[in-house]
Chain length 385, copies 4
């Protein structure tokens, strides 16, 4: 029997964490062949060069696609997406996959969807059905309407995708592959590497062994002109706390120049003594870092997903995760220095929360591979109502 | 007060008929300014050069966008769309419209949607919420999920868009602008021009004054390899009937080379004495031609929309209009010479049907302009459930 | 020892004839590996689907690149070229060739040149150094300035490339591979296939066994608005002659719609009884057809190249081959029915000419392969003066 | 009489200095209309946002074109160029200029050339005919072969363009517009602004009033893998000197990430006390800064052009300016810390040189405008030999 060729397109650093365990399971499955495409900011040094970690993890790469236009504004986001459609169309035309996987809701993921759907290739959407703010909200549901099979991360998401008129049998809750990694590292009681030594980075040489927090705040595309102001509130709050903080640079998104510039200017001017900056970290190392920390601050979806499983207190700032399902570990705050600072203080003084399986119980990757190997694949559908 | 700038993107011949009365109403509205963009096959001679009719109708054109890749297969459809995203992004960047209108569900309409939505420009989707087969089905609902305001053509469509999670106040049934034209010409009791003289075309010099039918059959993108076989059934049926027929060449779509080649080969070989071929016709002339004919044969959506209002018998072939709402004038048949031939015979011997207002009652254009002038425009939304 | 990977980009039907014997020789060479890329109009049915002949000839294809924008005007020519740069850059990035070959001077060949030169891949230009009119003249010499190694077809061309400041050792006269085919078929005394049976085509069912001519006339891009008028002169002349003629449709070029439309309208209106039309023919069959004919009429470069070797009388119309080297077999005429008709009459009554080796003596393919296998490859150079 | 529309495309910070006086003269000319297009890195914050200076100088901008792909490697350079062809084709199609000006030899300037030449728009090449290393060498001469009119900067360049087969009357030595600026500021005996206050920047707060040098070193595209190593030699030399230095970040080019990373790492590690870094400066301020400095170090072409007129000692490092004409003010050195350091020391102890008019005497802008207003414009040519 021929193996089914499953093409997965990874376009950014965070998408890799969200799919890694599924990649492993696809690669290991006797009836599946993995075709891994690395595209967009996952190839770029400025955004943490996710491709290096992927290669180090031993995944063979079928194609690399440079498609990011400089400018980091809504105009270049749109053009990057258009370019992505053209490039990925070529890639799929040559790889001839039996199914293509598009991941979640970043703006450029719709390029994967169009390139597959228009070429009559069955399209699998991972992590649909959730709710947030930002352009991601539109992109996610548009991906759903272009996709033929939906592998979602929660019951809530499953119900929403069905409400969107999708065929119920084609909507399956596998849980999120990111939780698989979280489960794996949740067994480590302490950090088994020195982040400063292993990842370098810039900024203060922290003494992190007695407790630290992690910060990761991305720009919100629909508010991109305010991104500099927003990040400053967080910067001031964290500096004022004077508690060790590992801070990660933002994704490539409209506004990330605002966010990046805000950080850069603050560093130059204020030289904060309690903040160290990283570009990127291997997904498992990042989770270990979280797991040993006192809290995650910012607006990363990891706060709602992986941290739910890890029981880590999360200070979620602003609208980026608006209405996404969350467990009890999340405290929502506004773009406001005082609110942020107080919430972090509370978190540091809080015990960890119970493990929540809201986004899965750690076997999503294996489930996804098994479904891909056995489900009937189709590229045609009609709305259910 | 500044006029609101409304940018409308017309990418194909049939889209023009579907929006023309709205263009006029926008242009005439004291608080609106029309920015008309002509793109895709609407610029191409091979597809009837819709741009010529548009200019003749006196609409000023703000930008022309060449974006169609040759090849007419799923791969070039996808790449055309990607190119369209890039080009239209530039156009909107320079025109700075207050709202962009994307029309219906052709594959390249999603390019308009992405270029607007990603640049935070309020997106208005016209003619969403309907149901059909083909890639159009996916594209239409994806457009809905990218759009902020929905001006639909029927109650059925309005309910479906709301079920898709859109904010009910943002979903308004205006009826279809194509019905405005139908209403206008429905008052002409007879054909006031000679189609052979006015439009030339190729093929038999028909004596059409004692009755004729009209044929318009497009390829179905998800069946594009069968398009040649499908068109042959219709060709054989129409030839066998030996009744005068005006036949229109298909749209640019994957498979149209199959359809076009099928027609071309049949002409060369069979030299049918009862068929005359046209590339294109002014929208109003086309409706007059329909209104004076005995039946429309093929799979054009005009059969379900304008012909419902005109009460014209329609032989609808195959899956292209699968599940789209239809009035009593439509007879559905398979890709089968015998079925097609019998259905046409029945239609020729049938009286006209009652006028149906399923798709509107003739004032859609004016309603659309008034809504665009007064509605609160936004580019951010969240699903309703 | 690793084989050198030689990537050849074929973008159009005529380019294939101009490189075919070299492809065979590269494929057969023990130290070379052929990477054949088929792009542009060579993939399109409307332009004779050269890819079918190439596959039939048994060449494996490393990548196919759809890049032709519809419109056939100067604007789409330019955009096709831009798209070609982007696409071919990807192709070379993935194929990692040791050298790239760009052929002659069609507008899109500069895309191959840029994609290779900018990526520091040694660029070999075939058939540089000649002189013509049209945009080809600019493109050819720009290709020369981007290329590192020049394999030219005549002494005249060799001297011109050196005058352009190229390093003399890097400029080698191999002769033209098209002459290799001409030599091969020059041994056939008569036509060994029936063109009507083998290639179909449209138009009159000619009785060609007692003599015929061949016509092939392309639009001239810098005169593209006049292309319809130009082709009409030739059409009227050939019809007036009332002598059997095989006529080939033109290339995809700005203006080919003018040329094609001119032919189409003339056919419909005049139904010439002595002309049969073909889209394409296998290169060797085309040469056999020429070799058995009385004359070639039009502006094809085959008239100056292959026909010089074959000694066939050629009526060369207009400016397309302006200043290109020619042997005694060529009669130049203006776009003028009377002149054209008289020149064809003279040619039919003329004996064949002596074989001229102006463009080579039939071993170009083998020479090219041997040079590619042994020359020192470089991607850096400086002008010699 | 209609004014001639002259479209100038500025794609990078340094190109602006090289054309500014001509822009002014075109704008002021009664028979010319300026259509200014800003594209590529001239729009990007990371590369000094030249567009801000251009707008501040009061030039109205006809179109902005985002076209730079992230990655800064040979692959993205090529794709940026392809994208540029597509975008600029649209721009010219809409602006309908009577002539287009492409400037010098940066990799993306060929996009301007193709977009104009293929659309039959007369193409004017400024600053052709010079000799250097790098991909610029190929691009410059390819631009020459695509252009119809050549306005060069030196006698040497004029002779070379004629040797390239261009029509002698179409090759005119106007001098370089950059010299016009140099002449203007050469009358300022001292610096009339504080660079630290006016431009911010990062790094040491220099005491520059008793003498300083300026450093500007770009990556060489054909050596892009070595760019990090190359810049380190210069960094070490300048640090060792312990003499105040103003250092400018490099252009966007393949390898500039190597160069930028090299600088960034050195700063972080070594925290040099005598170096202050700027992203950009208004062209006239930059020249004033040079004019009051002791020497320019690096590989900027300003060292050979403007500094010849200013008589400023220049330490020219490596191959980037290989074979470009130079006056007596230039000392060439290798990528070698010791050589560089010694050469700078010598320069600091040297008097200024005599003013050289090798690249013009300060009236280039006015001459260019006058030629553009009066010359016969054509888009067709044939090589002269």
């Amino acid at each position: 029997m021929n193996k089914r060729k499953i093409c997965v397109v990874v376009t950014a650093r965070p998408s890799y964490s969200r799919i890694k365990s599924a990649l492993t399971a696809i690669q290991d499955h006797p009836n599946l062949e993995l075709q891994l495409v690395i595209a967009g900011s996952a190839l770029l040094d400025r955004y943490g060069n996710a491709v290096d970690f992927i290669e180090k993890d031993g995944f063979p790469i079928a194609a690399k696609v440079f498609m990011v236009l400089e400018g980091e504004n809504p105009t270049t986001m749109a053009k990057t997406t258009g370019l992505g459609v053209m490039e990925l169309t070529n890639v799929f035309y040559n790889l001839k996959p039996d199914a293509v996987i598009t991941i979640a809701d970043r703006f450029e993921t719709i390029a994967t969807s169009i390139a597959a759907a228009y070429q009559n290739i069955p399209l699998v959407h991972i992590q649909g059905g959730e709710v947030t703010g930002s352009i991601d909200e539109k992109v996610r549901h548009a991906n759903t309407k272009l996709a033929d099979l939906h592998l979602v991360c929660s019951e809530d998401a499953r119900e929403r995708v069905i409400k969107l008129g999708e065929i119920p049998e084609q909507v399956i809750n596998t849980g999120c592959p990111s939780i698989d990694l979280a489960k794996e590292i949740s067994e480590y009681p302490y950090l088994d590497f020195d982040p400063l030594q292993k990842y370098g980075g810039v900024g203060a040489a922290l003494d992190w062994k007695n407790g630290y927090i992690v910060v990761m705040q991305h720009p919100v595309t629909t508010e991109y002109k305010e991104s500099k102001k927003h990040i400053q509130e967080t910067l001031k709050a964290v500096k004022a706390l004077n508690y060790p903080a590992f801070w990660f640079w933002p994704n490539v998104d409209a506004g990330s120049d605002g966010t990046s510039n805000g950080i850069r200017a603050f560093r130059e001017l204020e030289q904060p003594k309690n903040i160290h900056f990283f570009k990127n970290m291997e997904p498992t190392d990042f989770l270990k870092l979280l797991n040993s920390s006192e809290a995650l601050v910012g607006n990363s979806s990891a706060g709602l997903r992986e941290c739910a499983y890890l029981g880590l207190p999360v200070i979620n700032i602003g609208n980026r995760q608006f209405r996404r399902s969350r467990a009890g570990n999340v405290t929502d705050v506004a773009y406001d220095q005082v609110e942020i600072e107080q919430a972090i203080k509370n978190a540091i003084n809080t015990e960890k929360f119970e493990c929540s399986t809201l986004y899965g119980n750690g076997d999503a990757g294996v489930k996804i591979a098994e479904i891909l190997a056995t489900v009937k694949l189709s590229y045609s559908k009609t709305i259910c109502y």
